[in-house]
């Protein structure tokens, strides 16, 4: 069980975006998808969620728990979104509805997919808020009253409230400062592992992947150019595209000699 994407081709109008992408994420696996902006990363997540723009053409195969998603009618796709697949977005500030309270926001997927009484729902939402580390008094607050990190916790809670088997995190930490980034990555990893779900972590930053994933795919210009264990890839990337990304991550990661950090194992020339 999990998701298997095979020979996925997406074109917008006459412009090809993805040229035959293959990737798979099994239950309990955390897999990274890394590539520079414009490489088509988000197009893969949108294809899985059935959220491609109307002008996009999509061929190939996306199998979620054995079920073919390519060509699925929108109504059936909508039933899967938020129930079988949860999504965490890049910019929590704009991904949350400014009019909804935190409690309503997190409860939304439950309202859409399950028949629950209001009390049951509230109980589940409050339990989920505790899990993601949101204080109980934020239940009635609205997104603009929250910090960026708290907003992203709401995003994660919303994605996980229905216990989906697959979670897609599309650059969930890019908009956050480095201190919050680490907390969010750790939170996501622990929740996904606890649920035994599959995680597809999309990012342009290799240094985040090292912490979040075991295995990863490198995407460039709509093609998977390299795949392998994250550690091995960080150690010795083979393709120039992967090397550029690893090099950037190395040079832009803080290197300290003194107190504090032992985790700078990426330090060494190429």
């Amino acid at each position: 069980m999990g998701i298997v994407v095979d020979d996925l081709q997406v074109a917008i109008g006459s412009r090809p975006i993805l040229h035959g992408v293959h990737l798979e994420v099994r239950d309990g696996q955390r897999v990274g998808l890394v590539g520079p902006s414009g490489s088509g990363k988000s197009m893969i997540s949108r294809a899985i969620m059935g959220l491609l723009p109307p002008t996009a053409g999509c061929t190939g195969s996306i199998e979620l728990n054995g079920r073919q998603l390519v060509g699925l009618p929108d109504a059936e796709m909508a039933a899967l979104r938020g129930a079988a697949v949860g999504m965490v977005f890049q910019n929590p500030g704009t991904a949350l509805n400014p009019l909804l309270t935190v409690g309503r926001q997190i409860a939304l997927p439950l309202e859409l997919h399950y028949e629950l009484t209001a009390d049951e729902r509230e109980g589940r939402v409050r339990a989920m808020m505790r899990k993601v580390g949101l204080p109980d008094e934020l239940y009635g607050r609205r997104p603009h009253e929250l910090s960026g990190g708290q907003q992203q916790r709401v995003g994660i809670a919303t994605a996980l409230i229905t216990s989906p088997r697959l979670i897609i995190a599309d650059e969930p930490t890019t908009a956050l400062d480095s201190m919050t980034q680490r907390q969010i990555v750790d939170l996501l990893v622990s929740l996904v592992d606890e649920a035994g779900a599959a995680l597809l972590f999309i990012t342009h930053d290799f240094s985040v992947l090292a912490r979040a994933t075991r295995y990863c795919y490198v995407l460039d210009a709509g093609r998977i150019v390299e795949r392998g264990r994250t550690e091995a890839l960080l150690e010795a990337p083979h393709t120039p595209q992967a090397r550029t990304l690893v090099e950037a991550a190395r040079r832009l990661t803080l290197h300290v000699d003194g107190t504090g950090a032992q985790e700078t194992e990426t330090e060494e020339g190429r």
Binding site: S178, Q181, F206, S207, L245, R251, D257, T259, E263
Partner: protein
């Protein structure tokens, strides 16, 4: 690069002394900056680091003269920027790079027009400059950013990647050869591979103008480490730590800075 001692001997370019700033009125009034002081010498790159809500963007706007402090004074080249003459001098000898190049470049202007605008604005006060000379100087600035002028002069931001657009924005900021360059989270909206190009671009500018002062606002310690000489750590509107980049990052004193350093070694 340049030793911190050498930097400390250089003349002061920009300084903010004991700056306080509050927002809101009556009971909702709250102070964002509680007496911050900061100093940038000629040739020095000072990084202001701090999380969101630390007050670093307010401090930046005050240092730029886009916001007036409640108390405290900002001096550029010894002249308070509260005075019209001081503000004029700051505006004309400084460049700013913002976080999102697609927001800070007019979407309906070509790179030629955007980068040439500061030159045109200064020309009005001094003498005439013909289009050929303008285009040549814009081209030089683009080349310094490792952008091919024949390809980029007539490009609109919509046809650029984030890294390319940000380099055009930097070209705009440095085309007049400013004495002070301010970069406000100039890399956080750009993807990691392109961040290196931005860093290289900043390095190229500093190599061209070794006396140019630079103020870098960032939450990314990796970026800060590779470019800054001095670090000022801002937390809840207070400077909790400052010193040479090596000292602050290798041996942070304030608990907040320790947390930052630990979190950054992801």
């Amino acid at each position: 690069m340049s030793g911190t001692d050498a930097v400390a001997d250089a003349p002061t370019l920009l300084e903010g002394v004991d700056i306080h700033k509050s927002f809101g009125r009556g009971r909702r009034r709250h102070e964002v900056l509680h007496g911050c002081s900061i100093r940038v010498h000629e040739g020095e790159c000072v990084a202001v680091i701090g999380g969101s809500g630390s007050g670093k963007s307010t401090l930046t706007r005050i240092l730029l003269g886009l916001e007036t402090p409640d108390s405290g004074v900002v001096r550029f080249d010894g002249e308070p920027i509260g005075s019209p003459e001081g503000l004029r001098r700051l505006r004309h000898t400084s460049g700013v790079v913002y976080q999102n190049p697609f927001a800070s470049l007019d979407p309906r202007w070509t790179a030629y027009r955007s980068v040439g605008e500061p030159l045109r604005l200064r020309r009005a006060r001094h003498q005439r400059m013909d289009t050929d000379e303008l285009a040549a100087r814009v081209s030089d600035a683009l080349r310094l950013m490792a952008l091919d002028p024949s390809d980029f002069l007539d490009r609109y931001p919509i046809d650029m990647s984030g890294g390319q657009a940000q380099r055009v924005a930097i070209a705009r900021a440095i085309v007049t050869g400013p004495r002070l360059l301010l970069a406000d989270e100039a890399m956080s909206a750009i993807d990691v591979a392109a961040r290196l190009q931005i860093l290289d671009a900043f390095a190229a500018v500093r190599a061209r103008d070794p006396r140019m002062g630079m103020l870098l606002v960032s939450h990314d310690l990796g970026v800060v480490q590779s470019i800054a000489d001095t670090i000022v750590v801002l937390h809840d509107g207070v400077v909790v730590e400052q010193g040479s980049a090596a000292a602050v990052l290798d041996d942070p004193q304030a608990p907040y800075t320790r947390g930052l350093v630990a979190a950054a070694t992801l």
